[in-house]
């Protein structure tokens, strides 16, 4: 059987590197081209050293891109929308990992990204790529938008409560999100300088984080607020969503809601143990894997629920999710090329 020919635009960054790591081992995919404007001509392994001796692929410029079966776009925010018409001519299927086509309403880009969208006519053609919410639409999609890592952790934490109608929607939902440094991408800035970054716990976006828009859009919650803190991790996101449940809701109701949402999901695991060391979701053990671990706790006296979700931001929060999206839109097994756990210990 011939393999799907996949190319990656913007392959020198961290999400591009993760796409290469996954696609090079995917049983039904052949990586055709990987682009980088600044590193054209250099070997992929020179910038993704974990891929040494696995591929002799060299970065090429976008000008050298050839038609392929599926095109992954891993460019910084704002770049894809400027060239989307060219990309659409190169491949019948596209997975865009940037934020450029996540939101359906162009006005939301003005509100959350502070700028006009350059190609709003294409927003409606992209399906939001979170299978736990949009699986059926993704199966028949030609164009899929990747997901925001912080939005994914927040959405997966809250989805069971929303679906089961357990939330008291008269009260706000506050999601405290702790993130690792790889979310910031492969480019350096003063905040990523080691003496500044190391051992810091920095609340970099207590309000107004862009990914809030994806939670509002996908869960239909109006009064939801994300608060972001960068912690001393390279990979990982932990979202702790604080909300209130309707009176009379018990912990067993929460168990039922989480099981109903996730028992059939291949990459979501409920972690709520009464014993042992690993009683709650922790991104540490998810590094490198496409799994999301979710859990919850209920203060029965006040009705406050804390719904938790942990992911690897580069995997379930970006490249792993993108490969899962490609599997769905290509009719492959949804788990193909992604069936491995994280490392323990790491």
């Amino acid at each position: 059987m011939s393999r799907l020919k996949a190319s990656i635009v913007g392959a020198s960054g961290y999400t591009g590197g993760e796409l290469l790591r996954l696609l090079l081992f995917h049983p039904q995919v052949e990586v055709a081209q990987a682009t980088s404007e600044s590193k054209a001509g250099e070997y992929v392994y020179q910038h993704h050293p974990n891929l040494r001796k696995r591929t002799q692929l060299q970065f090429v410029s976008q000008a050298a891109l050839q038609p392929c079966d599926v095109l992954f776009l891993a460019l910084p925010h704002g770049e894809t929308q400027k060239k989307i018409e060219r990309y659409l001519q190169l491949a019948p299927k596209i997975v865009d990992l940037s934020a450029d086509f996540r939101l359906r309403d162009a006005a939301l880009y003005r509100r959350w990204y502070g700028e006009e969208h350059a190609a709003p006519q294409y927003l409606g053609q992209f399906v939001y790529g979170l299978p736990e919410l949009q699986r059926e639409a993704m199966r028949t999609a030609r164009y899929i938008s990747g997901v925001g890592c912080n939005a994914t952790a927040s959405n997966l934490a809250l989805l069971p409560l929303v679906r089961a109608g357990l939330l008291d929607t008269a009260r706000p939902v506050i999601v405290d999100v702790k993130t690792g440094s790889s979310e910031g991408g492969a480019s350096v800035n003063p905040g990523s300088h080691h003496p500044e970054k190391s051992h810091s716990v920095r609340a970099y976006a207590p309000t107004g984080h862009r990914h809030t828009a994806e939670v509002i859009q996908e869960l239909g919650l109006r009064d939801v607020h994300l608060s972001m803190t960068a912690v001393d991790l390279v990979r990982g996101v932990l979202a702790a969503a604080h909300a209130f449940v309707k009176p009379g809701t018990t912990e067993k109701d929460l168990w039922k809601a989480f099981r109903a949402a996730y028992n059939a999901e291949p990459f979501v695991r409920i972690v709520k143990d009464r014993a042992g060391l690993h009683r709650v979701p922790d991104p540490k053990i998810l590094a490198g894997s496409n799994y999301a671990d979710v859990g919850f706790d209920l203060d029965a006296e006040s009705g406050r629920v804390v719904a938790l979700a942990a992911i690897d931001n580069l995997m379930k929060g970006a490249s792993g999710s993108a490969v899962q999206a490609m599997n769905l839109m290509s009719g492959f097994e949804e788990t193909a090329g992604l069936e491995f756990p994280g490392l323990h210990p790491v």
Partner: protein, 55 residues
């Protein structure tokens, strides 16, 4: 034979258990004591130590 976990209501399949035996819920990891086997298996939460962070 099967029984429901009193903590999380997971269905637990049990074979050849005896009264007084401690079993573990596969979903929530809680320790459960088999309090009866006839006419049906009954389970109760067994005492467990809480996590101690020393604060």
């Amino acid at each position: 034979m099967s029984a429901l976990c009193p903590e999380c209501e997971a269905t637990i399949t049990l074979t050849n258990v005896m009264q007084g035996e401690i079993v573990v819920c596969p979903d929530c990891g809680v320790d459960l004591e088999v309090t009866a086997v006839e006419p049906a298996v009954a389970l109760a939460l067994a005492p467990q130590e809480a996590e101690d962070w020393g604060e």
